[in-house]
């Protein structure tokens, strides 16, 4: 398969402007600024069936069309580079290796929705990555691709990077906007939606880094070319973040719709130490876990993953072998959400706390069998009752682990300890 989003693997120094230009760089932006009207750009992207890569899979062209035409207020484009969903590491490599691909996607987006200012929101830990994209922005600005009068078109686009400071919730789009405005990252009640009232009270598009990186290729080669890659309703390539117990973990650009089995045994070089597969966390830690049988028949695209009751999320595939303690995995997941809940909504704040407490007891072998039903009840009360979906993001995994790996929970309770920790490991830890 031709590499599209990870061209840097074939083109050394793609991050340098001259190399980028020599490889058809900014040709799509030129086309969008000189040969296309904003509505043509939006239609092309709509026709391509490009869907958001940030987790919700929303059609990108449709999102852009919600921005009021001829808005009296400025329109903002906010690019989500918070990349904090456990298991996700695609944007990181994009910032490091293809910053101009990101910038070009942003330019075209700004032109499509009538925006003159874009912010790239980056997680606080992305220090190296921020230096990379800031250097590319400086180069692009010096050569007239960013700033006043982009490429002599008479159209201005400023692009600024904005660094968060350690808060998973700031990846949620309305929290991201609050954080951009210099506040705590508290998700907002909706409506109003960002398209009407987003950053600084103005119409705003929020898109993921990877989503926008697809745009120059769609503009260059057309919607029909794009739709022909992978399933038509969910097309394109996907940056798949493969990690855990495989021999060759890493970032792989794959066509949508690849079986997870092939990712493990072919792309990933098989199971680590030749052990047996136990399950997969697909999409990111926010989504239901898959058992062995489900993992081996799962097809990795938005709709197929939904059909088996999980999600493609942000392209995560965390592989777990037979020695993995699923109770400990859920405990670590619960700890994460409890740590990251912003605390605005009672069901989320309290629910995350209870779940973590129960999971700590479970893992230590001090759990009780009734607590398995309690975990389900707490989760049911969290879903759909909160400002944002962080609450669902722990509730859904809890229910999936408790249902699919119930035997392991029971074993912890029965033994009064974790069956996966050997006596030797326990002695070491003591």
């Amino acid at each position: 398969m031709e590499r599209i989003l990870t061209r840097w693997l074939d083109i050394p120094d793609l991050k340098k402007l001259d190399v980028y230009l020599a490889n058809n760089g900014y040709a799509a932006a030129r086309k969008a600024f000189f040969d296309m009207k904003p509505e043509d750009i939006i239609n092309e992207v709509k026709n391509s069936n490009l869907r958001g890569r940030g987790g919700a899979a929303f059609p990108t062209g449709t999102k852009w069309s919600f921005i009021p035409k001829d808005s009296k207020k400025p329109v903002y484009v906010c690019v989500n580079g918070d990349e904090s969903e456990p298991g996700t590491f695609a944007n990181r490599y994009q910032f490091e290796n293809d910053p101009h691909g990101i910038i070009e996607g942003i330019l075209i987006t700004c032109r499509a929705v009538g925006s003159h200012t874009a912010y790239i929101y980056m997680r606080g830990e992305f220090t190296v990555q921020k230096r990379s994209i800031d250097a590319a922005l400086a180069e692009a600005r010096a050569r007239g691709y960013v700033g006043k009068n982009v490429m002599g078109s008479g159209y201005d686009v400023e692009i600024w990077t904005h660094r968060g400071a350690g808060a998973y919730i700031c990846g949620e789009e309305s929290a991201l906007l609050e954080s951009l405005e210099g506040k705590r990252g508290y998700p907002r009640n909706r409506p109003p939606f960002p398209a009407i009232q987003g950053a600084f009270g103005c119409p705003t598009v929020v898109n993921n880094i990877e989503t926008l990186s697809n745009v120059p290729h769609i503009i260059n080669r057309g919607a029909d070319w794009y739709k022909a890659i992978g399933p038509e309703k969910s097309p394109g390539t996907k940056l798949v973040c493969l990690s855990g117990h495989v021999n060759k973990p890493g970032l792989y650009e794959l066509p949508m719709g690849m079986p997870i089995k092939d990712m493990i045994y072919d792309i990933g070089g098989g199971m680590l130490d030749g052990k047996t597969l136990k399950g997969v966390i697909p999409g990111g830690s926010s989504f239901p876990v898959l058992n062995k049988e489900e993992s081996e028949r799962a097809i990795f695209d938005f709709d197929s993953m939904r059909a088996i009751g999980s999600a493609m999320g942000s392209g995560v595939v965390i592989v777990m072998h037979e020695d993995t303690c699923m109770v400990d995995m859920l405990r670590a997941t619960a700890h994460f959400y409890h740590h990251e809940s912003c605390g605005q909504c009672t069901p989320c704040r309290e629910g995350c706390g209870w779940i973590e407490k129960i999971m700590n007891e479970m893992e230590a072998g001090q759990g009780r069998i009734e607590q398995l039903d309690l975990l389900n009840n707490i989760s049911d009360n969290m879903v759909g009752n909160t400002i944002c979906v962080l609450a669902d993001s722990i509730a859904m995994p809890v229910k999936s682990y408790v249902t699919k790996f119930r035997g392991e929970f029971e074993a912890h309770i029965k033994l009064g300890r974790c069956p996966f920790k050997s006596a030797e490991a326990k002695a070491q830890a003591a």
Partner: protein
């Protein structure tokens, strides 16, 4: 040491702050980047540092405090010269993150969240740092990533850091 310096931005930092203001339609939006400058200048965000930012930006002190306490990367107490943030989230756990934490604890004789008595090292554990394909990993001083760690490579890193500016 940065802590003992007068709580005031250098000329270069002030310059950087002023240019930041041009990026946003409101002054408040520059708060996070300004706090980053402050943390770089002062090493951590003491009460005085927060008060300085609040005066500089003409923002209510309570707002600045609320923001600082929301974000985990802002230090509200001094940290060692070398801050080791080890990821203990899912993919890193599967590849042995707990052993990495253990070997650092044993070498430095400190617990998680603690600083060595010579002020050189602080150990902390953090959530996923977008480096799961090269797990386990740690971030040094909120900057470079050290990936595909083994207990040996971790101890070697600590030795190298300990030997620096001795």
């Amino acid at each position: 040491m940065p802590e003992s310096r007068e709580v005031k931005f250098s000329d270069a930092a002030l310059e950087e702050y002023r240019s930041l203001l041009t990026h946003y339609p409101t002054r408040q939006a520059a708060l996070l980047p300004t706090l980053w400058i402050a943390q770089r200048e002062f090493g951590w965000l003491s009460e005085e540092a927060q008060a300085y930012v609040s005066a500089l930006m003409e923002l209510p002190p309570a707002h600045v405090r609320a923001v600082v306490s929301f974000y985990t990367m802002f230090h509200r107490k001094p940290v060692g010269r070398y801050l080791l943030d080890v990821c203990t989230n899912l993919s890193c756990r599967l590849r042995g993150a707990d052993q990495i934490v253990e070997c650092i604890r044993n070498r430095l004789k400190i617990g998680v969240g603690e600083t060595t008595s010579d002020g050189k090292f602080t150990l902390d554990v953090v959530e996923c740092l977008a480096s799961c394909g090269t797990a386990p990993m740690l971030q040094l001083n909120q900057d470079a990533f050290y990936e595909n760690l083994t207990p040996d490579s971790t101890l070697k890193l600590i030795d190298e850091l300990a030997a620096r500016d001795r």
